[in-house]
Amino acid sequence: MKRPIVSFLGSLLIAVLAVGLVWAADPSEALTQVPQEVKEGQGTPKKEHQFVWSLSPWTGKEFGGSFAPRQVDTIYLLAGETNIMNSLRSEIYYWDITQEYMADWFGTKEEVDGKLEILKGNSVFKTVEKTPYVYSYPEGYYGRVELVTGPEAPEAFERYEKLQDDYYDAVSAYYDAQSKWQEKMDKLLARVRETGQYASPEEIPASPQQPEAPKLYVTSPVEAFVFDLPEGKYRIRLVDSNGEVVPETQKNLVVFSPRRAGVGYEIIPESKWTKPVLSDDRNQVLYLEGRRTFYLKPSHELEYNQYQYLKMSSLHKPLEGLGTRSAWMWVHTEEIVDAKIQILKDGEVIQTIERKPYYVEQTPGYALGYNIVEVTPPEEGETSEREPTFEAFRIDLEAKGKYVMRLVDASGEVIPGSERVIRSVRVASWPLYTIPLIPLLVGLAVVAWRRSLKSDIPEGMETQVTTEG
């Protein structure tokens, strides 16, 4: 036996040592897409005039930003989503401090003309030409983004510029009106001071209204390749007007889909509003103890392979996402706002909750603490006294038994993946440790029975019989 065991252990040890040695000697051999600069480290970064693919991939909630330098061989994009790529040249260097490639866009940013060819296998799957596009933010820069492409893109930008111009004109008119109003008010006040007689309300001019700034924001039009692809593995290249492949433009392209979709919750306990709890998996159960109030912010979510997802927006960071090929992550895409939460007990709906704005009000004085209060909408023509800290669904539950929580949309349909079970716990102390005794008691009984097995020697005969054998 010694030989097989020693051989096995020896082989295992050798394998571990081999991996370790390879890592110690040349760690980059074990890495993918980690180029020379990363291995060696650099003092003064060397700039290299390179072709790069700039990327604005849709991440599920926004458009990311990255670029693929020459040293990167694979690009990752989401399947079925609109993605944007551009063909550029710039001065590229590796910045060791932040361990990423940088592009000197301010110094050099050359557009490279051509068509994007996307190949599947050996045949051309799709050819994409550059088209103008803009990002439009109807609710402002921090709100939802829309992609506008084609001839509508410059039109959208023009509309935005006109709105801006109109707003500036309105502001200018407002300042003029304000100045005139101030003049009138100054005269009126002077008269009141001189005469000591108050002016009548009719005499007081109405103050001019400040124009409301438009929320819309639109980026300047840019020409790039805008496309979407089904899931799969492809190769891309830039082809010039002569049909020739532009050097250094060939890359692998992996288009991936989410593994699962669902609804994730950010749960804000009233007692610890700065420490929300996340519930991304529908198999998670929410446990309560006592009577609890908490606030829910549900979002649609998708589960992606962590490596592919991270690489999608950080191709210029070679070390990002390394070693995560077997990991998965949930990505909250869009917050669900136009829905209601239902709380059910024994199959019956006992509460229906709507989304409302809340404000965290610090307790004045020396005592630390806060209250979360609902923000009531302002009256017509009035502004709100306070801006809400967050908007969420407020749940208030007594911890008794089991509940089911779910989201229903405007038509009353349950949103898939939104169900969560809510249970109240009973905290048991010593009974918790008595239940494990059951197998021990059974065992002792069995052993006692076995030990009780005796011979069927009649009494008084034992000594005679024990001399046998």
Partner: protein, 315 residues
């Protein structure tokens, strides 16, 4: 029942058994002898298929083990030298376990019979951990015979038993042999082998140096035999009378007691008796001194190994 052809087992440089050819007939009790390290246990293990021979073949019931592994195993019962029992079982459970393994039909009856036969019935529900050595030995034998095997291989069957137990086991072996069961017994207790076995094989340093009946072995090993004579009254010149007989080698003694050494080729007591009567003597007793198995064993293994081969022995 058992036949080996050129059976050989080597462990590296050591040859434990070499070119062994034994033959056990149906219905006989075969004794297998040899000093420590002769290769007896190795041979038994090879017969049972627990050790693979380096060379040669083993035939049980005329077949190789591999041709009918389960069929052959079901017809063989084995008692090893040391008893390895499941001490967390009772005797009844132990026999029941083996009974189920051998798929015995009337298992409970068989167990009752076996336990009764070996006088273990009153302790059948006691855990085996509490059994004495002798009881374990008897239980082992009960297990070996539980499934009514045609062939029983026993290694030191009486080593842990008291005289009463030894007689018990001997009687069982003889009874079972009368019913047609074949026994292959390996033992160091030569007196028991002598009393029990029909034929004997003697193994020394891995080689079979003798295989024959006891009387043939004795005869082949000794050229002379001694006959002790007691007369009613002294007879004059009886020495000369007896010395004159052609088969007599030497005559010793005087008065009523004489010791006569004759050739060992046959039993000459009748001729001597006639000679004494012719000389006017009356024979009160005449005993032919036979070599014991122990004497034969020692002689074979330490002295007269070549004697057997010169005599045209089967080995």
């Amino acid at each position: 029942m058992i036949r080996t052809e050129g059976l050989t087992k080597r462990f590296g440089q050591l040859t434990a058994v070499e070119d062994l050819n034994i033959h056990v007939e149906k219905g006989e009790i075969y004794g297998f002898l040899g000093p420590n390290g002769a290769g007896k246990t190795t041979t038994a293990m090879m017969l049972l298929g627990l050790l693979k021979p380096t060379a040669g073949s083993v035939y049980l019931f005329g077949k190789e083990l591999t041709s009918d592994y389960f069929g052959i195993k079901r017809r063989v019962g084995v008692l090893s030298e040391f008893q390895y029992l499941y001490e967390d079982m009772t005797a009844y459970e132990y026999l029941r376990f083996f009974g189920q393994l051998y798929q015995i039909d009337d298992i409970d009856q068989r167990i009752t019979n076996m336990l009764g036969l070996f006088n273990l019935d009153h302790r059948k529900h006691e855990l085996l951990g509490g059994y004495s050595k002798g009881m374990k030995q008897k239980l082992g034998l009960a297990r070996a015979m539980l499934h009514d095997p045609d062939l029983v291989i026993l290694d030191e069957p009486v080593s842990s038993l008291d005289p009463y137990g030894i007689k018990e086991v001997r009687d069982i072996i003889m009874d079972e042999n009368q019913k047609g069961r074949t026994f292959f017994i390996s033992s160091h207790i030569l007196s028991e082998i002598e009393r029990t076995c029909d034929r004997i094989g003697i193994l020394n340093k891995g080689r079979l140096v003798a295989e024959d009946t006891m009387s043939n072995l004795r005869r082949r090993l000794t050229e002379e035999t001694e006959i002790s004579i007691e007369l009613e009254n002294p007879v004059a010149e009886l020495n000369m009378t007896l010395s004159a007989l052609p088969f007599v080698i030497e005559v010793q003694g005087s008065g009523p007691d004489y010791t006569v050494r004759t050739k060992a080729d046959k039993d000459y007591r009748a001729e001597i008796s006639r000679a004494i009567a012719g000389a006017g003597g009356v024979t009160v007793s005449m005993r032919r001194h036979e070599m014991t198995l122990e004497e034969a064993f020692v002689t074979i293994t330490e002295k007269n190994i070549t004697l057997l081969t010169k005599e045209g022995a089967t080995v």
